[in-house]
């Protein structure tokens, strides 16, 4: 029976992908949610009015975050704290979940908003004002190659005690941490980002790590000033509600590795295993047969004749 073309016609609205080529299908597949996620991309957006400081700051952060970042240099009349739909639209189009929005006006000079998205809706946003900024251009030292995974150091008890600082610490880790790797080249740990929190201000410094010889295997560290350095002051923020935050952390089933049972390690590092046996009948155990101890034929018959039949044969 020929299938009616009309039957296909009204079912086609269900096929939401509508990928007509193999290449577009691969592209759409790469944007689908996955079990273990790769690196997050970030979009760096310039706001309605921005000063020299802000523009340079955005360019520097873009240089740090290349290649997983997009820089939108044109002016975008967006107010993230009032209306975040424009940001969400950008995020959906460019498939970026982290954003940095820079703007400048009289009320809030040199404003940077760091934020992240979950399912293309705003999760957290933190507004930081730049008080002092030293750009990459002004520091005339050689920088480390693009895309190095930086070491992150947070200092200050505020990052532990204050709830907003805790969330900011999480956000900054997410923003700057880079791709998730299983192994790292020890000589390649060149870049360190250091955040200090003190009295409502955050000092961000970026250094190049020089590994010097020391007496033992672990090298001695010397730091060299590199890269952008910011003095931030905390302004407004928008933090996600607790349940949304929890939902965002929910991991799918397949991710956690299954624990292998009955394996343990003792103090020396030897691997011990545990076997569970059924109950054994010790009378019917098969043990080693000592051939030499076996009694010879002649002696045997004499013995059996002499001894009673009930005497057990110990070696057989």
């Amino acid at each position: 029976m020929p299938v009616s073309q009309k039957a296909i016609f009204h079912l086609q609205s269900l096929d939401r992908w509508k990928a007509k080529t193999r290449r577009s299908k691969r592209f759409l597949q790469s944007r689908e949610p996955k079990l273990t996620e790769g690196q997050k991309s970030s979009m760096i957006i310039r706001g309605g009015n921005s000063s020299e400081t802000v523009s340079q700051a955005l360019k520097d952060v873009y240089a740090l975050k290349k290649p997983n970042a997009v820089l939108y240099k044109r002016k975008n009349m967006v107010r993230p704290f009032d209306d975040s739909t424009a940001l969400e639209f950008f995020s959906k189009k460019s498939d970026c979940s982290l954003f940095l929005f820079g703007s400048h006006n009289k009320k809030r000079p040199n404003n940077l908003i760091f934020g992240r998205m979950f399912d293309f809706h705003v999760l957290d946003m933190f507004e930081l004002g730049i008080e002092r900024f030293v750009s990459l251009r002004d520091v005339k030292t050689d920088t480390c190659p693009e895309g190095t995974k930086p070491l992150l150091v947070f200092a200050g008890e505020l990052f532990e005690t204050d709830r907003e600082h805790q969330r900011l610490r999480n956000l900054l880790t997410d923003f700057f941490c880079g791709p998730r790797v299983s192994a790292v080249r020890l000589a390649g740990l060149e870049h360190v980002l250091h955040f200090t929190a003190l009295e409502g201000k955050i000092y961000m410094r970026s250094y190049k790590v020089l590994l010097k010889k020391s007496g033992c295997r672990t090298p001695r560290i010397q730091l060299q000033d590199m890269g952008p350095s910011f003095d931030f002051v905390m302004r407004r923020n928008h933090m996600a509600s607790d349940d949304l935050y929890k939902t965002a952390h929910r991991q799918p089933r397949g991710v956690k590795p299954k624990k292998k049972k009955n394996i343990s390690h003792d103090a020396f590092g030897t691997r011990l295993g545990r076997l569970h046996m059924q109950k054994q009948d010790l009378d019917k155990l098969q043990t080693r047969k000592m051939k030499g101890l076996r009694k010879r034929r002649g002696e045997q018959t004499a013995e059996t004749a002499a001894a009673a039949a009930k005497a057990p044969r110990t070696d057989e």
């Binding site: 997050k40 200090t196 007496g215 033992c216």
Partner: protein, 344 residues
């Protein structure tokens, strides 16, 4: 030798060790929290605000950073290392800071109709080779797609089969068959998607489309008629409308995957029948067939010359038993009582 006592040697060794480690030890009040998976370190110590004055600020921060980085590097050097192509690489553990996901976790897709069937029957996927040998072109070609091995559509010669209409266009027939197969596949794929998304799709003829055929319209009308609370019992017919009598299934088939034991039993019985030498005879069926045959012949005879092309010939059932019976019963009026006898 006597002057160097054991304690002196040990003390000297300790001092040497301390010297070595001097370069890399850092004294802190509280230990740092480390997350080697993310290359992260967190220093909880209080920062002395006195040292944080304007002129000395940069140096203070730099020294603090240096100390913290030193501790982090110490931690990194404690990780297990391995050699990958002459480079020493440290294996990182899983990151311990929980970071939120980008998108919600993917939901597992419900299996398609074929996947359900395969799972039930226990059919495994067979790994197929990428290329297939093509005899015609004498080369390895891909199994399907562009320039595939056995391409039906590219044949320049199709033999007309014996029982086919000579004026039929064989190439067009092939193309049409292919189009139908493609359409059927597409239809099934979309149905699978609809089932996965749990969207109910209206059946044939019920979703309005331009230019519906008469059959679909009739079906739509019938469905609309019985879509009342009392299943169309009190719906009056239109002036010339006839109530359709043959609703429901004409034949009932067993489900495809049902009782495995009964299926097995049926197959074994079938084999037994095929194996046995005696022919199996269904008397009722044979008799009915015979009766129909004879009715037809008599009708043909009564119509002088304008009878339908009756099918002559021996249409008796399987077996020699009936042939004998037919031979005995004369064609004529006396046959009915014989038939009754046969039925018994």
């Amino acid at each position: 030798m006597a002057s160097c006592s054991i304690e002196d040697v040990l003390a000297k060794a300790e001092r040497d060790e301390a010297e070595k480690l001097k370069g890399i030890t850092v004294n802190k009040e509280l230990d740092l929290e480390f997350d080697p998976g993310n290359l992260l370190a967190f220093d909880k110590n209080r920062i002395d605000t006195r040292e944080f004055k304007d002129n000395k600020r940069e140096d203070f921060i730099r020294s603090l950073a240096r100390d913290n980085t030193q501790l982090l590097i110490n931690e990194m050097w404690k990780l297990p290392t391995e050699r990958v192509e002459e480079i020493i690489v440290a294996k990182l553990p899983d990151p311990s800071t929980p970071l939120p996901r980008e998108k919600p976790a993917p939901k597992p897709k419900p299996p398609t109709k074929w996947e359900q069937f395969a799972k039930l029957k226990g059919i495994q996927k067979k790994k197929k080779t990428n290329l297939v040998w093509d005899e015609v072109h004498k080369e390895w070609r891909r199994r399907w797609g562009y320039k595939r091995a056995k391409d039906d559509t590219k044949e320049w010669l199709i033999e007309v089969p014996e029982n086919a209409d000579p004026s039929e266009h064989q190439f067009a027939k092939r193309n049409k068959a292919k189009k139908e197969r493609v359409a059927k596949n597409e239809y099934n794929r979309l149905k699978n998607i609809a089932r996965a998304q749990k969207i109910k799709v209206p059946g044939m003829g019920l979703a309005p489309t331009p230019r519906q055929p008469k059959a679909e319209l009739a079906q739509a009308v019938n469905v609309a008629k019985i879509s009342t609370a009392s299943v169309g019992k009190f719906q009056d017919n239109l002036p010339k409308e006839k109530t359709p009598k043959n609703t429901g299934k004409k034949r009932k088939f067993q489900p495809l995957i049902g009782d495995f034991s009964s299926e097995k039993q049926k197959q074994l019985d079938l084999l037994k029948v095929m194996d046995s030498k005696k022919p199996r005879l269904d008397i009722t069926k044979a008799v009915n067939k015979q009766m129909r045959e004879e009715d037809r012949e008599s009708a043909q005879k009564s119509k002088k010359g304008f009878g339908k092309k009756g099918r002559r010939g021996n249409m008796s059932g399987k077996g020699k038993g009936k042939a004998g019976g037919k031979g005995k019963a004369p064609k004529g009026k006396g046959r009915k009582p014989h038939m009754k006898q046969g039925k018994r």
